[in-house]
Amino acid sequence: MDSSFLLILLLVTPLAGAVIGGFLSDAAAKGWALVVSLATFGVSVWLAMRFFAGADLVVHPPSAPAQLTAIGASFSLGVTHISVWLILLTTFLQPLAILSSFKSVTIRQREYYAWINALLVAMLGVFVARDLLLFYVFFELTLIPMFFIIGIWGGPERRHAATKFFLFTFAGGVLTLAAAVYVGMAAGTFALDDWGAGALIHKYSVIHYAQLYLTPTARWWVMCGLLAGFAVKTPLFPVHTWLPLAHTEAPTAGSVILAGVLLKLGTYGLFILAVPIGLIGQTDSVIREWTHFIAIICIIGIIYGALCAWVQPDIKKLVAFSSVSHLGFCVLGLFALNDIGMQGSVLYMINHGLSTGAMFLVIGMIYDRYHTRDINKLSGLAANMPVLSFFFIFFTLSSIGLPGLNGFVSEFLTTLGAFTSPYLNPWYGSVAAIGIILGAVYMLHMAARVIMGPLKVPDVDHGDNHDDAHGHGHGHGLKKNDIGFREVGILIPLAIVVIIIGVKPGIILNGMRTQIEELREAPVVPMAQKITSPANAAVAQADVKIAIPSR
């Protein structure tokens, strides 16, 4: 059975959901959004099962618009061993994020759920796109729904945060577009797989083209352009400043998706585009200056993010800064350019999505009750929220890399990757490991202040908290106020996955190795020898020299 329709279905399901949901009543929109997200999750699981069963999942419509085929762009979809996990992560987090919004989002619900499903379409689009232009379109498309989710349903500073978020990522994205268009035009194809439909050069993807024929100067510029967009999105130091603000102001679900998936678009872009195009060449196969430069940026981010996180009074901002630190590890592993580091890096993407997403969910649950995230106003929640405290500590441990839980495997592999990398040296891994100490410092600082200690919570208004219908007047915030079935139901799936990945990371790690090695391997044979048809060879030879911008 040809299962390629699943790729289309994966995009159509949330798209249709978003459109239909836009016409429903507020009350119905909630349930509908949940149903749609669960259906999408179902489709993604089906897709993943078919993919792992060996089905060739590719969509490449022959009837693409002429103008597009003329420049080599096409509506091509596909799945790789890397993207399949990110797809699953996305669709897995989506229902949880929606479920977490049920009581915290109270205004303009219909629009909210429509946007959040539209966001899902865009995110999934990035992961299934097998065409550079299509990838870029989806990549930028994620901005718009997120912009509104932060800008409308966010905290008091939401306008500022949304604008900053948009401007930063959009500014970076424009440069990425320039680089993508340049390299695509030069290659005559935007295809990311080797069956590219370019007019000039057949059989080669835009990536392989770039590896074979771009001059070092051109590649340097292309790398700069790609990096601009992806580094902002990831975010790497020093272009991370939009992130803490956006996280702090975003509604819980927005933060979960932002941390869980949107940041991964940056690392995913680095993974499938920046590294193979910018670093892997034909002769001296890797441009070392880049690996050292980025590794240093990552290490600064790891330590800088951790120290900033430690002193934040707002626990959501604390976790946001921890993302800066964590993604430093993720990108460091990637730029180690060895199997260990790169496999660890992909796993890091998944793990960070789970752990940090879960942390944001837990913090959102605290915020729903006490309307504060101030570390100085909350204390000793274990006394009146034991179940929530269990999950809080659990995901804290996952986040600080306790062996047996998911975070450890990826943290260790990325650090080990940097340590043993042929392009870096052990000092990089060693200095990055300081981040492992600091990670425990800020997370346990938060746990000690919020969960442990004498119970202290701000008084909350009756009206805001439905559970408190029978409050006892002054000090009723001190009574048992634990999370209910819905909230436990949100956290349990995350906790289970955290344990499964911690114990059997091989589920994710094992399949992707060959894919990662392909990413690192440039076609070493000159094209003329590879192409059998003399005519094509002539074309290829003629096209080798391409006008390049001077540096």
Binding site: L402, Y423, G506, R513
Partner: protein, 745 residues
């Protein structure tokens, strides 16, 4: 050993306590409540039984020939069932890179252009005499303490939580000692750190407890940082993190490869690996400069202090160095460092213990000091002595902690020895048990501590006279502070601390009486008017049974251990011979023995459990006499100052106030760390977050972002429109722009 049922099902040993923990944790709050100890009792009890079966089966193996070398052990591996070691693979835990590269030693090395590598960490166990001994200590003492805890923790809120944490601890600790590679060791290592964190923070509402818990975890993390780098270096140098790879004698594991022919890089790595790993050991085993967490850890319930912070977890560092001895002995400087740090810590902690008044704090510093002894043993190339002391110490220190727990229980939470005296009259059994523990700790002749401490001191003298002498000084102080505690708390006139009003509910003492009993404590003079009334007055205490059988039984077992454990290795070196069959010890000895450049030329085979020239009995006897006399002298001095005339102790302290003040402030080490490291880092963090991030980084980026500001204005307008159609139109418009860019080209 392969054919043993217990070995085949060894995964039960860690798994059962974990299941027990899950049952206690998930069903304890609502269903089991006061019965939450049952799952843990059953699970840990079964694990302990399995551990002892393993021990006896291993012991029953036929003795192999003397002087086993790696060659002969390799031959024995081939024979199969007669080898006292065996590894059990459960599943592949972490695997990255190309499996086709298995077995190529170069694959992990830093070769430019070669990105391929293979990293594998299996969930596997390795059993040898060292594992089995550690396992029996962990499960055996762990079981006794779970029994004790059921009595001790009775009625505490969060009773189930306590037992769930204990279950997690036993799971992690058994993984630590059974693990077959460094990653499994690291799993257990971090895991026991977690359990320690949870248990220290058991009374999480107390700010002191939460700070202590956090401190314990973070100080350990600093050590783990070194440990982690050590593991990565091991992998980089040898391409594996497994102790013995595919099996002892196959030369595929770390500990064997380190003994083989080494490349230049491997030699360099072997210089640094010990220092990295040692940092981890110093953190976990509370050695200078990372010892500061252990005294604070006494905020946890007393059974936890006994199990985790005295008997088992803190000895993990000793275990690690004993296990990875081969990686350490290649670097004489590292061994010297371990011995010197151990000796320094032993002295430092002993001096601090001299001036502590909290029972548990005294024993905490004593634990640090005794761990220092073990490190000297290992550093002085006598791992058997180190492990021997580990075993005896586990008995008597657990006994001492639990006995102080009984005291604390009876005294309504009071642990200040200035507020109590003469307790032998109200706690007769505990008194005897405590005395046994104190004698063993003080190194009183013919009790367990005497023999094991002696072995270490002997090894230290062998290495360096000054080192040995310093240990004797530390031993003298140990005897003194131990009996200072004993004489003050159990002997002398009976004084019972005033119970806090809310604890037992019987009223307040008259102030004058309190003053009288206080003077009785201070002077040690018995027939003060207040004393007899004190007894009658406090009779309500006596009506409670402070020594329930549930709590006494484990204590008695431990006391027997404290009395007799020394005879495990004396007069015949049973424990040493047994441990000597561990491949870790064989290879470590081999590395030292075959390389005259290493450390002392006069290395003793018996120190590694290997058979060699027996030590002349005379020297041993002289040393025993000397150290026995030193212990007696310390005890006598404590008698003079703390029983005969307590006022004299206070007078002496006053006359030497500068020294007393330094000791009272514990050399200000905590304060120095706080000021120098924590506060500066936090200031840096604040500077980065509030100044650099806000103005410098963001400012620069904003400056660059001025150009698209115009676009921002446009978008702000669209926000304000607020129509869904409008947004959709904007979205389409954006796409159109992109496509336009493409077409225009």
């Amino acid at each position: 050993m392969q054919h043993f049922w217990v070995v085949q099902h060894s995964w039960l040993i860690p798994l059962l306590p974990l299941i027990g923990a899950a049952i206690a944790g998930f069903f304890g709050a609502k269903i089991l409540r006061g019965q939450s100890h049952w799952p843990i009792w059953l699970a840990v009890g079964t694990s302990a039984v399995l551990a002892f079966i393993l021990l006896f089966q291993t012991l029953a193996l036929p003795k192999h020939e003397a002087g086993a070398t790696p060659e002969s052990t390799a031959a024995m591996t081939a024979e199969g069932p007669y080898t006292p070691y065996y590894s059990k693979l459960l599943f592949n835990w972490i695997e990255a890179g190309d499996p086709a590269l298995i077995g190529t030693a170069e694959h992990a090395q830093n070769v430019p252009g070669v990105s391929n590598s293979y990293f594998q960490a299996t969930a596997s166990f390795f059993f040898d005499p060292l594992t089995v001994v550690m396992l029996c200590v962990v499960c055996g003492i762990g079981f006794l303490i779970t029994i004790f805890s059921a009595g001790y923790m009775k009625g505490e809120s969060g009773y189930f939580r306590f037992f769930a944490y204990l279950g997690i601890f036993i799971f992690m600790m058994t993984c630590l000692v059974m693990g077959g590679n460094l990653i499994m060791l690291y799993l257990g290592w971090e895991g026991v750190g977690l359990s320690s964190y949870l248990l220290i923070g058991y009374y999480y509402e107390k700010p002191a407890a939460r700070e202590a818990a956090k401190k314990a975890f973070l100080v350990n993390r600093i050590g783990d940082f070194g440990f982690g780098i050590g593991i990565m270096l091991c992998y980089l140098a040898f391409g594996t993190v497994s102790y013995f790879g595919n099996g002892v004698g196959t030369h595929t594991g770390l500990l064997e490869l380190a003994n083989g022919s080494l490349t230049q890089f491997q030699t360099t790595a072997l210089y640094w690996i010990p220092f990295c790993l040692m940092l981890g050991a110093f953190g976990k085993s509370a050695q200078f400069p990372l010892y500061v967490w252990l005294p604070d850890a006494m905020e946890g319930p007393t059974p936890v202090s006994a199990l985790i912070h005295a008997a088992t977890m803190v000895t993990a560092g000793v275990y690690m160095i004993a296990r990875c001895g081969t990686l350490f002995v290649h670097n004489p400087a590292a061994m010297t460092t371990i011995a010197v740090i151990g000796c320094f810590t032993a002295l430092l902690a002993a001096t601090i213990a001299l001036r502590q008044f909290d029972l548990k704090k005294v024993f905490a510093y004593s634990t640090i000091s005794q761990l220092g002894f073990m490190f000297v043993g290992i550093g002085a190339l006598a791992p058997v002595a180190g492990v021997f002391h580990l075993v005896t110490h586990a008995f008597f220190k657990a006994l001492l902690f639990l006995s102080s727990g009984v005291v604390m229980h009876a005294m309504a939470g009071e642990l200040d020895m200035r507020k109590m005296s003469g307790l032998k009259r109200v706690l007769p059994i505990t008194h005897i048990l405590m005395l046994i523990g104190c004698l063993a700790l003080a190194g009183f002749p013919f009790l367990s501590g005497f023999f094991s401490k002696d072995d270490i001191v002997g090894a230290a003298f062998h290495m360096n006279f000054f080192l040995g002498f310093m240990l004797l000084v530390a031993a003298f102080m140990t005897a003194y502070y131990t009996f200072r505690l004993y004489f003050r708390v159990f002997q002398g006139p009976l004084v019972i601390p005033e119970a806090p009003a809310d604890s037992h509910g019987h009223g307040h003492e008259p102030n004058e009486h309190a003053a009288a009993s206080q003077s009785a404590i201070d002077t040690g003079t018995a027939p003060s008017s207040g004393v007899d009334t004190a007894q009658t007055h406090h009779d309500p205490h006596a009506h409670h049974n402070h020594e329930p059988a549930l709590m006494m039984f484990p204590l008695i077992v431990l006391a027997i251990g404290a009395l007799l454990a020394g005879y495990l290795n004396f007069p015949s070196e049973m424990l040493g011979d047994f441990l000597g069959k561990s491949p870790s010890f064989i290879y470590a000895y081999d590395a030292v023995h075959n390389n005259p450049a290493l450390v002392h030329a006069t290395i003793k085979a018996s120190a590694f459990g290997q058979e060699g020239k027996p030590e002349p009995l005379g020297i041993k006897l002289i040393l025993m006499t000397v150290s026995g006399l030193i212990a007696l002298a310390g005890i006598y001095l404590a008698y003079l100052f703390h029983l005969k005339d307590r006022a004299r102790a206070a007078a002496l302290a006053n006359s030497m106030w500068p020294i007393a003040s330094i000791l009272d402030h514990k050399y200000w080490v905590d304060e120095i760390y706080q000021r120098l490291i924590v506060e500066n880092l936090r200031t840096l963090g604040k500077l980065l977050a509030n100044v650099v991030d806000r103005f410098v980084v963001d400012g620069l980026v904003n400056l660059a972002g001025l150009i698209p500001q115009a676009g921002g204005v446009f978008l702000k307008l669209t926000v304000q429109r607020g129509y869904l159609q409008g947004y959709a139109a904007a979205m389409l418009f954006g796409i159109a722009i992109i496509l336009f860019v493409v077409f225009v080209h």
